[in-house]
Symmetry: C2
């Protein structure tokens, strides 16, 4: 059924060893034999077996990318970059979705797939320490997105606190007096939410404003729908806010939609700032002010870091220092926050 190197060897009248040499481009093959073998390969339609190669080499040429939901634009944009970068380095990418379930996260890190892949790029919602426990001598993991790998694992991300502070400051500087925060999370261990809230809090405090708990809205997740619901809640209050900082762009887009439904204008009645730098926000009406992390860079550095660690592991360099790379972000001011 499947064509093997042995078949090619027979056809070309050489040994299987020679076919392997040709396939892998080893220099020690005469041009003549190369010619014959190449011909035979084409005639028989031979394709190397990745399974056999993996088994033999102990390297699969596959990286694993684990994200909560692929249809959340932030992760989609990230995935695009990761896959692109990996392919540039000769690696294929297996994508797994955890759908927010810790069980799936565990499985992605401990199951056979995790062993088959040479390494994993992980955007986790669960607790890192917990996830990393009992992963003795497994393939390396690079954590992406949250601010810290807790020294346990390489981490690539932006300074969420600083970014959130910048976003909140921008609202303050735009003249907002009552700035709400949308996207606090009931489970405070959800680091992303906690960090961005912290940034918000710091900015307010620095401006001499005390946080009004009524202006901090928790959301179970970070979709447009959650943002819409949160905004509706905020707008139903007597003393509604005049500015809203949302923990993600999706929340912000939902929030703007809610304002529209209530007949309020953004930014005149209420300014909105998001976080993620989604392409979508460049075209929303009004265009969304946001914190834009350099996602391509995050993707590239993540892949590079992972590959570096994979190679280090091969050499046996056990104790390479854990990396924690801060990627640049920028505050992109668009229509949703430009007042008067």
């Amino acid at each position: 059924m499947t064509v093997t190197q042995a078949d090619v060897a027979e056809r070309a009248g050489v040994s299987q060893r020679t076919v392997s040499n040709v396939v892998n481009g080893l220099p020690s093959v005469s041009p003549d034999t190369i010619e014959r073998v190449t011909m035979a390969i084409r005639e028989l339609g031979y394709t190397p077996s990745l399974a056999a190669r993996s088994l033999r080499l102990g390297r699969s040429g596959v990286l694993q990318l684990v994200v909560p939901e692929l249809d959340v634009p932030y992760f989609a944009e990230l995935a695009r970059g990761v896959i692109k970068s990996a392919e540039d380095q000769g690696y294929a990418v297996m994508v797994r979705q955890t759908l927010g379930s810790r069980e799936r996260e565990r499985d992605a890190l401990e199951g056979s797939a995790a062993e088959y892949a040479e390494g994993t790029i992980l955007s986790a919602v669960g607790d890192i320490g917990e996830l990393m426990a009992g992963r003795a001598h497994r393939a390396p993991v690079v954590l992406i997105g949250e601010r810290t790998g807790m020294g346990l694992v390489d981490h690539i991300g932006i300074d969420d606190v600083a970014a959130a502070t910048a976003a909140t400051n921008h609202l303050l500087e735009s003249g907002c007096r009552r700035v709400a925060f949308v996207g606090a999370h009931p489970d405070s261990s959800l680091r992303m939410a906690a960090l961005r809230y912290t940034g918000y809090e710091l900015a307010l405090r620095a401006a001499g404003i005390t946080v009004d708990p009524d202006l901090v809205i928790q959301t179970g997740s970070y979709h447009r729908q959650d943002g819409e619901a949160a905004m509706l809640a905020l707008l139903s209050r007597d003393d509604r806010p005049d500015g809203v900082f949302c923990a993600t762009d999706l929340l912000a887009l939902g929030a703007m939609r809610a304002a529209y439904e209530r007949g309020l204008r953004v930014p005149d009645d209420i300014a909105v700032v998001g976080f993620d730098g989604l392409e979508e926000g460049r075209y929303s009406i009004p265009a969304l002010t946001t914190i834009e992390p350099d996602k391509q860079q995050i993707a590239r550095v993540s892949v590079e870091t992972l590959l570096a660690r994979i190679r280090a592991g091969e050499i046996g360099a056990e104790s390479v220092e854990v990396r924690d790379v801060a990627i640049q972000f920028s505050l992109v001011v668009r229509e949703s926050s430009i007042r008067n």
Copy 2:
């Protein structure tokens, strides 16, 4: 380094064969040995080698998903469904991006990865006949998204022509007199564009309207940016259209943005209808009327069809009839097309 079944066997005091039996849940193992082996597995942290299993079984447990761009929401939403469905069936998914390059499409179908995967779900931009040529006895492919696999390959999709006709009719029924089409493609072999244009044309013709070539805008790709540019071109005309049917939601969202920039109101000044049923369009301002294919169903049926064909291939049933499944779609009317 890596823990093998042999290691587990030694630890548990049984033969390696028995470990394999336990791992695979074969019935012919005494509860006692199961207990001992399971214990040993846990103690040693054994994980089965997928590479070895693949080599032995000739099945990798991996499907390949090939899409143009993962950060285009339509493909992201599709990918989510495909990965979910595949995981439900015990398969992992490798995702490849072609970025619109035919070379990458070829490679995805003919390279080693295509051989490693048990099958491929392909959303292609290139010519199908060309892509399928010379894929003699390779793993099966299911085509997704366009209307036809040309009888060469299984296909799952919606009736693009009928859907486009429905969308155009809706604009006509909403009172639009001059309906433009955005998203025609210079390369007419791009079937998706051709089909949706055909539906547009049919609807106009049925209404006794001749197509005004000036109202048909070509776009190189189908991103928001292209929709924005196309709309700006349309609006710069003296006799601008009062309705626009866009070949994708992304084009439509860009078009609405352009109208906004020009100070025109959607739908009052110009109605807009998209195609894809993106989540984004439910929250855009105004909310976008669109053709909504049942993407979850597309994903599910694609995976099922692919698995069915994989199994058929194992049995050796060579000539199973090629499937062409039409998935349901619906016209979802939202604010962008509701006039007066």
